[in-house]
Subunit: 755 residues, 2 copies
C-alpha cells in the first residue's frame, strides 16, 4: 500500500527507479493495450527479481479443469483462463557474453514513462558494466489504429563501452501462466519459421475435454537494425529470434533495433490463412513505418481523449487517477469487437480469468454509454443477448426456470470455479436487466428493448420468480441461501439488495411486457405480480435503516478502526470462517441501491445506511469505494465522498488493496468515473431527461467532462459554486439542476449558480 | 440401493454370484481386517469390471496437498490420505497362457462367504475354459492373534482341464489410489528381493512438504505349493512373485498354494530392522502353520463374540445387520494400539481419509466403553488428550482461544481440506468433552478426568467462550457462522444443537474444575458462567419445538416424500446451493441432543421435534438413522424406531445411501448398537446407576447382549413384555427399569415384567 510511483503527473505515469519490492505493481501500472492485445509493463531485458511476465490476446483462452479437495455438485467443470501469450516483447541484452539482469545491474540513471495522452511507453536508462557504460532507450506501443500491430524500438547509445554487445529478440512460446494450478504449459503445437523479412511463430492453445474451441495464434515480427554489426537467426525449441552483435569501441556509437509485430488468431481467420493474413498485416505496417504508426497512434488517442477526458483542476492525484482509469479502460475495451467484453484485469494480469463479469453491466456500462455512445453500449447488451440460451441452461443447473447469467464467462457458460459464487451470487442477474433499463432510459431508444432486451428481461424475471419461496407466516416471498455483493458473507437469507433487485427486475419486465406486447400467460403474470408485491424487504420505515441480511444485527458490530492494522487486508490475514462471521463488509451492498436507483431513496435513508455500514466496510473489493462515494455525494457528505473517490480513483496507483501486483482492477475503474458523474455531478436520467445535483469537493477548482446524450455531445463543468452545461453538438436541451429546470440551446452554454 | 447380497444369514455374508453392477458394493461388504491391516473383498484373480482394489495398513498415510480453484485462508494445507498398500492378495490365474478374467469368465458355479463367527473368507467356484473345466477354492484371513499375519490358500481342483495352468502370486507395489487427485503413486523407493524361503518387498510412502513422517513397510511372503509342476520367480518393476506352472491332464489333479504374509512398518520398528522383524514374524507364522493359525483365529473371534454379540431373535435381517456392524467395527479397531483410532472407512476404502473423526467420541465411544471395557475407552480418550496442544494451535488458526479439535486427523493436526467443515463444524469439539463425561459417569472412575480430562474440558470451554459473541439487544450469547451436524446447511447462525452443547461443555468444565480443584481466574470463571447462563437457545417453551437454526422456518418446508425418487440421494442429483437452501436435512441435528442427554428432554419434546424434523430428513449421512431411531424409542414410537434401526443396521448391506461401493461406513455402524442399547433397551447411566426403559420392536422375539459395567459383566435381554438382567461377573447391582428400582445379585438374574 502507498503510491507505487513516486511522482504524480496529470498525464503521465512516471517511474524514476527500479524498486524490486514494487516491481510487479509497477509492471501492472505500466501496462499497455489496444483492446485486441496488450501487455504488462515488463522490462525488455531479463529481470530476475519480483516479476510477472504477461502478454495477452483478447478472447484467446483455455478452460482449466476445476480440481477441488471435495467435489460438490455445482462446481463448474472448468475455470476459463486468460493465458500468457507467446513473448514478443523481450530483448535480451548481453555485454561481453554476459546477460544483463536489470535486477542486479548498475544503473546510474533510469527513467520510464507511459504517456497516457498517446498510449506510448518510453524508457531511458544508463547501464554501467565491467566493460563500460552505455545508454539504452526503448519505446513500445500497441497501435489502436492497426489493431494487430505492436511497435517497438530498442536503441543502445555507447558512452564508454569497449567490447561486444549482443541483443537477442524474437518470439518465444516458452511462457507459463503463473496461476496455472498444475504448472502445465498452455501453448502447444508450436511452429517457428524464418521468412525472408520476418520471423514467424505459431502456436495453439492446449487440448481440452470441454468442447471448447482451441485457438491458434500467428505472430510475425519484422526486426531490423541500423548501425553496424552482424545479425544471425536462431530457430529452436519453440523460439525464433534474431541475434544482433556489435563491438563497441568509442562513445557515440549506436545500435538501434526496430521491431514491428503482427498478431493474428483463428478468432478472425481460418487456420489455413493465418500465416498469410499475419504476413499481410505485418507488411502493411512495415510499409507505413514506425514513425507514421506512432503519429497515427498519437492522433487517435487525442481524438479519444477529446470525448472521454475528465479534467479536474486543483488536484493532480485525483486528476491522474481518473485519467489512468480511463486510459486503462479504453486500452482494454473500445467496443469495436462485439464478441469481446471487458475483462476484469484487461491485459494486465492473469487473475480472475474469464472475460465478462457483472462489473460490465453494473459499472462499466453507464460510462461507455455516456462516453463511447449508444452503439458500443448496444454491442455490450448484445453480448448478453446472444448468450441467453446458455443462461437458461445455467438456471436449469440449479433447478430453476428462466435465465441465470453466469458470474464469469467467455462464451456464455459459467467458467468460474466456486459454487458459492457462481450459484449463489444472484444479484448479477439484476445487473443484466439494469443495463437494458439504463440503455433505454438514457438513450430514449426503445428499439433494443423491444426487439432483444424484452426476452432477456422476461427470462430473468422468470428466474427470480422460481428462485423465491413463499413464507406463509410472514406472507412474504424470500430468497434463501444467497451470496451478495458483499462477498464476506456466504449463503445468507434475504440479502436486502438481492431481494430489492429481484422485485425491481420482475416489475420492470412486466412493465416492458406491457409496453412491447410480450405475451405472458395470465397465471405467470399474476404470480410474478404477487411476488413483486410481497417481496420481503427489511427496511425500518421510520429510520430508513436497511438490514443487509437476516441476522446481521446478531453479529458483533465493530468498526474497521478496531482491527489491528497488521491484520488488514482481512482476506490475507484472517481465516475465511472468521471473515464470514464478522460484521466486516467487503464491498458496497445495501449501498449499491443508492447508485442503481438514486431517485428512489431520500437523503435521510442514504445517510443512515451510509453511516451504519461504511465504518464496517473494509473495501477489499475494488468495486466498493466508488459506490460509497456516490452514496455520500447523494446526501451531501463531501468529505466522505472525496475520500472514497480518491480510494476508487487511485486504487491501483496507490495499491490500496495490496494486490495491484496481480494486475489492475480494470472494470472497477469505471467506478471512479461514476463517482464523478453520478456522484459529484449528481447526474440522473431516469425520468427521461438529464438532471444534476452537484456536490463538488472543496479542493477541486473545476471538473469538466463530456457526454454523449441522445444525439448530442454535451460538456459539463462544475465547481462548488456553479454548474455549467454546453451543447457542443446536437439539439437544444432541457435539463434540471438541483430540482429546477433549465434550457440550453444548440452550441450554447448555460451556467447556473449553486446555492 | 437394495440388498447387495441376495441371501440373508444370521452369521454369514453369502455371495452366490458375481454381478458387475454390485461388484464394488460386494467387495466393500466382504472386507476383512484385524485392526492392524485389512482389505476389501477383492477377488484373487483379475477382474476387469467394476472394482476398487484396496488393502490398507492402519496408521500408514500420506498428506496430499490441498488444491482448490480459489484459495481461501483457512483451507488446511493437506488432506491426510489412507493409501492403498502394496498388493499381496492377488493370484493371477492363466489357462493355456491366457489370463482368466472373472469379469468375462464362464463360471457354472460361484460361492463366497465371510464367516463372521471366525473372520475367515472362503470361496468356491467352477471355471469353464476352452481347455476344460476346473474348480478353484480360496480362503483368506487376517489373524487377530498374530496381527502382522495374513494367511491365504488357493487351490485348483481339476475336472476336465487339459493343458497348462499358471498361477502367479507375490507382492506388488504397482498400486494406485483411486482418490488421489492427480494420479500420483504414493509408494516410492520400492525394493524387491527373493530370499531363501520367501519374497520380500519394501516401499516407502512418498515424500511430502509438510514435515509428515514417511513410512516404510516391509512385506514378506512365504509361498509354497503342494502338487506337481514347476515354480519360477519373477522379480522386476516393483513386483516380486512366484509363478507356478502345471499341466493338467485328468480330473482329480490338484494344485494348492499356501501363502503366508507378514507386514511390518516403521510405525513399529526402526527402518534398519524392518526386514529382519518382518522375517521373524513370517518365520513364526510359518512354523505355526496355517491350520493352527486358523484355529487360533476361530477361537479368538469366538471369545470376542461371547462378550460383544447382540442376539436378536425373530428377525434375521436385523440380526445380520448388527452382527455385520460389530464384525466390521472390531475388525477395524480393537483398542490394542493406542496410537490408532477408528477410521471412518476402516480397511474397506480410501474415501474420507484421516483416522479420527468425532464419530469416535460421538458414536463409537459408548459402545466400546460397554463392550470392550474401560481400558480401551481410556485409550481412545488419551488419543485426544495427547493431541491437546495441536487442538490449541487449531483454535489459534481461527483467532480463538482454548482447544479446537480437528474434524479429521491422524496426528492431531487438521487433515481434511474444506474450510466450511474444518473451521465451522464446531459441535465436534463438544463430542470430545462428551466422551470424557461418558467415561466418568459410566465407569464411576474419576481418575481419568482428574488427571487428564479436566485439561481437555477447560480448553474446550475456553474455545466456546471465545467463539461466542454477545448480542446486546437480546442479552444473549450467540454462535454465528457455524456448520452443524446437518451438513446440508453451511455457515448458519445459532444452530441450536451447537449452542446447547457449548453451554453444556462450559457448565461441565466448570463443575469439574470445582470437583478437581482446577484453578481458574475469577474473571474467566464468571465470564464463562455468564455465557452458559445467557446462551441463546431457541426452544418454544410451550410446545417444546426447537428451531434448528435461525431462519429455518423461512425455508420452503416440504417432506422428503415430495422429492421425485430419481432425485435421491440429493447429494448426487442436486447442486450444492439447492441442497443448502432447501429444508432437507442430511442427518440428525436437533435430534442428537436426545441421544446425548436423554434424561433432559421430555417425551413430548422428543415427539414434537422428531415429528417435525424426521419427515424432512434424507438420512444421507450414515450417522443419521440410528439417532432418529433412539429419539423415536425415547417417546415410544416403536414403528419409527424399528424402521430407522433397520436403516442404520443394514445401511451398507442394503446400500441405502448408494455409496457402499466406496467402502463401509464403519464408525456410524456403532449407531446400530446404540439404537438397540440406548434406544430399544432405553439404557441410561447419567445418574450414576444403570436404568432401562425398554421399547422392543413387536417383531423381535428377544434381544440379548452383554455389557461391561463397573467391574461387572452383565447380560441383558428383553422383549416386548419383559426385561431381564443377569450379573455374569462382579458385584450385586441396583438398577432401574421404567423408573422403578431393582436389585440383582452376583451370579443371578432379575426378570421384570413390562406393563
Amino acid at each position: 500500500m502507498g503510491a507505487v510511483l513516486e511522482k504524480v503527473d496529470a498525464w503521465k505515469l512516471i517511474q524514476e527507479e527500479i524498486t524490486d519490492k514494487n516491481n510487479r505493481q509497477t509492471e501492472s501500472i505500466m501496462s499497455l493495450g489496444n483492446g485486441y492485445m496488450g501487455a504488462r509493463g515488463n522490462y525488455e531485458e531479463k529481470y530476475s527479481g519480483n516479476t510477472l511476465k504477461g502478454t495477452y490476446f483478447a478472447g484467446v483462452w483455455v478452460p482449466d479443469r476445476t480440481r477441488v479437495g471435495w467435489w460438490k455438485n455445482g462446481y463448474p467443470k472448468y475455470y476459463g483462463k486468460v493465458i500468457n501469450a507467446p513473448d514478443f516483447l523481450s530483448f535480451s541484452l548481453s555485454v561481453g557474453g554476459k546477460e544483463v539482469d536489470l535486477h542486479s545491474a548498475d544503473m546510474p540513471s533510469f527513467y520510464r514513462e507511459v504517456d497516457m495522452k498517446s498510449g506510448v511507453m518510453r524508457r531511458e536508462m544508463t547501464l554501467e558494466t565491467e566493460l563500460g557504460t552505455f545508454k539504452v532507450e526503448s519505446e513500445r506501443f500497441f497501435s489502436i489504429v492497426e489493431k494487430p500491430i505492436c511497435v517497438m524500438r530498442y536503441a543502445v547509445h555507447n558512452i564508454s563501452l569497449q567490447g561486444e554487445l549482443t541483443i537477442k529478440t524474437g518470439i518465444s512460446a516458452n511462457v507459463f501462466n503463473t496461476d496455472a494450478n498444475y504448472g502445465e504449459q498452455f501453448w502447444k503445437d508450436v511452429e517457428t519459421k524464418e521468412r525472408k523479412n520476418s520471423l514467424y511463430l505459431s502456436a495453439m492453445t492446449k487440448e481440452n475435454e470441454f468442447d471448447i474451441k482451441r485457438y491458434r495464434v500467428g505472430i510475425h515480427a519484422a526486426v531490423s537494425s541500423t548501425g553496424e554489426g552482424n545479425c544471425t537467426i536462431q530457430n529452436e525449441n519453440g523460439e525464433v529470434c534474431k541475434i544482433f552483435r556489435r563491438t563497441f569501441r568509442t562513445g557515440g556509437e549506436c545500435l538501434t533495433i526496430e521491431k514491428i509485430v503482427s498478431v493474428v488468431t483463428t478468432r478472425d481467420y481460418p487456420e489455413a490463412e493465418l500465416e498469410k493474413k499475419g504476413q499481410e498485416a505485418l507488411e502493411g505496417a512495415v510499409e507505413k513505418g514506425s514513425a507514421l504508426l506512432e503519429a497515427e497512434q498519437k492522433a487517435a488517442w487525442e481524438r479519444r481523449w477529446e470525448m472521454c477526458d475528465v479534467a479536474i483542476q486543483g488536484d493532480i492525484p485525483a486528476q491522474q487517477g481518473i485519467r489512468f482509469n480511463l486510459f486503462q479502460l479504453l486500452s482494454t475495451y473500445d467496443g469495436e469487437d462485439e464478441r469481446l467484453n471487458i475483462g476484469p484485469k484487461g491485459f494486465t494480469g492473469e487473475k480472475y480469468g474469464g472475460a465478462a463479469y457483472y462489473d460490465t453491466e453494473g459499472y462499466c456500462f453507464p460510462m461507455y454509454l455516456s462516453i463511447a455512445g449508444p452503439q458500443v453500449a448496444r454491442s455490450l447488451l448484445l453480448f448478453r443477448y446472444n448468450m441467453l440460451e446458455r443462461a437458461k441452461e445455467n438456471a436449469g443447473k440449479i433447478g430453476m426456470k428462466g435465465a441465470f447469467y453466469p458470474m464469469v464467462t467467455f462464451n456464455g457458460e459459467e467458467c468460474h470455479n466456486e459454487w458459492e459464487i457462481t450459484f449463489e451470487e444472484l444479484h448479477r442477474n439484476a445487473a443484466m436487466a439494469y443495463a437494458i433499463y439504463c440503455y433505454t432510459v438514457y438513450t430514449g431508444d426503445e428499439s433494443y428493448c423491444r426487439e432483444y432486451g424484452i426476452h432477456v428481461l422476461i427470462e430473468i424475471a422468470r428466474f427470480w420468480a422460481s428462485r423465491c419461496n413463499y413464507q406463509t407466516e410472514k406472507d412474504k416471498y424470500m430468497l434463501i441461501g444467497v451470496s451478495a455483493p458483499n462477498e464476506y458473507e456466504n449463503n445468507i437469507n434475504n440479502n436486502w439488495l438481492t431481494n430489492y433487485m429481484a422485485k425491481w427486475c420482475i416489475e420492470y419486465a412486466l412493465e416492458c411486457a406491457d409496453r412491447y406486447d410480450y405475451t405472458l400467460m395470465e397465471e405467470e403474470r399474476s404470480h410474478m405480480e404477487e411476488i413483486a408485491a410481497k417481496m420481503y424487504l427489511n427496511m425500518d420505515e421510520e429510520t430508513g435503516f436497511i438490514m443487509q441480511q437476516d441476522g446481521f444485527l446478531d453479529k458483533e458490530l465493530l468498526p474497521v478502526s478496531s482491527i489491528p492494522p497488521e491484520e488488514l487486508p482481512l482476506c490475507k490475514h484472517w481465516s475465511w470462517d472468521r471473515i464470514l462471521r464478522s460484521c466486516f463488509i467487503k464491498q458496497a451492498d445495501v449501498i449499491l441501491a443508492f447508485y442503481y436507483f438514486p431517485e428512489r431513496f431520500t437523503k435521510k435513508q442514504k445517510k443512515v445506511n451510509f453511516e451504519f455500514y461504511e465504518p464496517m466496510t473494509v473495501h477489499e473489493s475494488s468495486l466498493s469505494p466508488s459506490m460509497y462515494s456516490i452514496a455520500a455525494s447523494g446526501y451531501g457528505n463531501k468529505e466522505a465522498a472525496y475520500r472514497l473517490y480518491q480510494r476508487a480513483a487511485r486504487l491501483d496507483l496507490d495499491d490500496m488493496n495490496c494486490d495491484t501486483e496481480d494486475g489492475l482492477h480494470i472494470t472497477s475503474m469505471a467506478g471512479s468515473w461514476l463517482a464523478i458523474v453520478n456522484g459529484f455531478a449528481g447526474m440522473q436520467y431516469h425520468n427521461g431527461y438529464l438532471s444534476f445535483e452537484p456536490c463538488c469537493p472543496e479542493k477541486w477548482e473545476c471538473v469538466t467532462c463530456r457526454m454523449n446524450y441522445r444525439g448530442r455531445i454535451l460538456s459539463i463543468s462544475f465547481d462548488t459554486d456553479r454548474f455549467c452545461l454546453r451543447v457542443l453538438e446536437g439539439d437544444d436541451i432541457v435539463f434540471q439542476v438541483c430540482g429546477r429546470e433549465y434550457e440550453c440551446r444548440q452550441g450554447c452554454e448555460k451556467t447556473i449558480a449553486l446555492s
